[in-house]
């Protein structure tokens, strides 16, 4: 069995990790996830070891994606519990191209073997050989992006809460802007639109990494979503709830006019993004 597959073929958590399989399932369910590749733990280790055959197999699959790329860890452990290792394993946004993918994959393999990851494993009684899968996806260059709760996480009201800003969603997730705020009922009727104050947008750099782009004054308090886009988001919320169940915490982006699902998980107790 191949251990590097198109993301929509990633189905075994024990091989690819829960993040890769979750995104693979979303693609199989017809959700608009950016295309990508899933690497099993064994091939990640082989790439880190510099094995030519493994590097070739991975680059053959990733090359058609072009660049830039988002390269994320997808922990493979006995219980497949990615959340257990949140913050321990690395995510590399904006890897410029497949040509430097080997270094990125190697860096992620070592992140699972870093002193901090090892210390964490000892602390939680998981002092076993780590295995880490990798998800490689096209990194979008979005016009706008953000988060959406399919149910109000504070009041519990049956309405969508959308927070949006210009550029990559990191500006919203990391609290770098006051995002635009929308409340939408299930029929798609917009109940509230509150413009934020969006002085910067996080964007990609051609040589890799990201930077904070200054937003023109006339756009800082202008809504970054029109009503049709809010309607698209409401329909995405419907689809995610059909597939995964109620009360979802969604990361999304709109690039070249198309809405993409980046992540969909259960709302946590704190309701944080």
């Amino acid at each position: 069995m191949s251990t590097a597959v198109a993301l929509d073929e990633a189905a075994e958590v024990s091989l690819f990790g829960s993040k890769a399989v979750g995104l693979g399932q979303a693609l199989r369910d017809g959700l608009p996830v950016p295309p990508g590749v899933a690497l099993a733990g064994a091939i990640v280790e082989a790439v880190a070891a510099g094995e030519e055959e493994a590097i070739e197999a991975v680059t053959d699959l990733v090359r058609p994606l072009g660049g830039p790329l988002a390269v994320r860890s997808s922990a493979v452990d006995e219980d497949g519990a990615e959340a257990s290792f949140a913050g321990q394993h690395l995510t590399l946004l904006n890897v410029p191209s497949w040509e430097v993918l080997t270094d990125a994959v190697s860096e992620i393999w070592w992140s699972a073997n870093s002193d901090s990851a090892i210390t964490y494993r000892q602390k939680v009684g998981l002092f076993t050989r780590p295995s880490v899968g990798v998800v490689v996806q096209v990194l979008l260059d979005p016009e706008s992006a953000g988060v959406m709760f399919t149910q109000n996480p504070i009041s519990g009201a049956d309405e969508r809460i959308i927070e949006a800003s210009w550029g990559l969603g990191e500006a919203v997730v990391a609290g770098l802007v006051i995002p635009d705020h929308f409340r939408v009922d299930r029929s798609g009727q917009i109940l509230e639109r509150v413009p934020g104050l969006k002085k910067i947008a996080v964007r990609t750099l051609p040589e890799g990494g990201t930077f904070e782009d200054q937003i023109a004054p006339e756009l800082q308090e202008k809504l970054c979503l029109d009503d049709a886009q809010v309607g698209d988001l409401n329909r995405l919320a419907d689809r995610c709830e059909q597939v995964y169940g109620p009360a979802r915490d969604i990361e999304w982006a709109i690039a070249d006019g198309t809405l993409y699902l980046l992540q969909c998980r259960a709302v946590t107790a704190a309701g944080g993004a």
């Binding site: 880190a48 510099g50 070592w110 073997n113 002193d115 901090s116 090892i118 210390t119 494993r121 780590p130």
Partner: protein, 136 residues
């Protein structure tokens, strides 16, 4: 070809008694790891499961926040944690962009467990190092 050069590995006292073939078996287990200038390589007091040999670049060694020495190409660190699963006894920071070869506890231990000759030679080296450390 993956792995650390055998001759570099044999300069490490722990591995000095091994034949080229024996050292080669261990050398093949190493993977390249890169650090950016300023990055923490290992942290005093934290757990550790990897041993490193420096290929290029320089790294500073700190004990209790006091700089003790600078390491360069061919130097090595972390070999004790490879065996005793203990905590790091020093912090090391990349003084420049740093390229190391590293091997993890999980790769090293099965090889030693399955090869008594290598295990015995490592034990002899450990004993010699222990004796040298005790001598005035």
């Amino acid at each position: 070809m993956a792995g650390v050069p055998t001759e570099a590995l044999k300069r490490v006292p722990l591995f000095a008694e091994l034949t080229d073939d024996e050292a080669g078996q261990i050398a093949r287990l190493f993977k390249v790891r890169r650090f950016r200038a300023g990055e923490t390589v290992i942290q005093e007091g934290s757990g550790g499961a990897a041993f490193f040999v420096i290929d290029s670049g320089e790294a500073n060694v700190f004990v209790h926040n006091e700089q003790r020495t600078t390491l360069a190409s061919g130097d090595y660190f972390g070999e004790i944690a490879l065996i005793d699963e203990g905590t790091r006894s020093a912090s090391i920071t990349a003084a420049s962009d740093l390229v190391c070869y590293g091997v993890t506890f999980w790769d090293f231990r099965p090889l030693v467990e399955s090869n008594g000759v290598i295990g015995w030679k490592l034990l002899q080296s450990m004993t010699r190092l222990f004796r040298e450390a005790r001598e005035p």
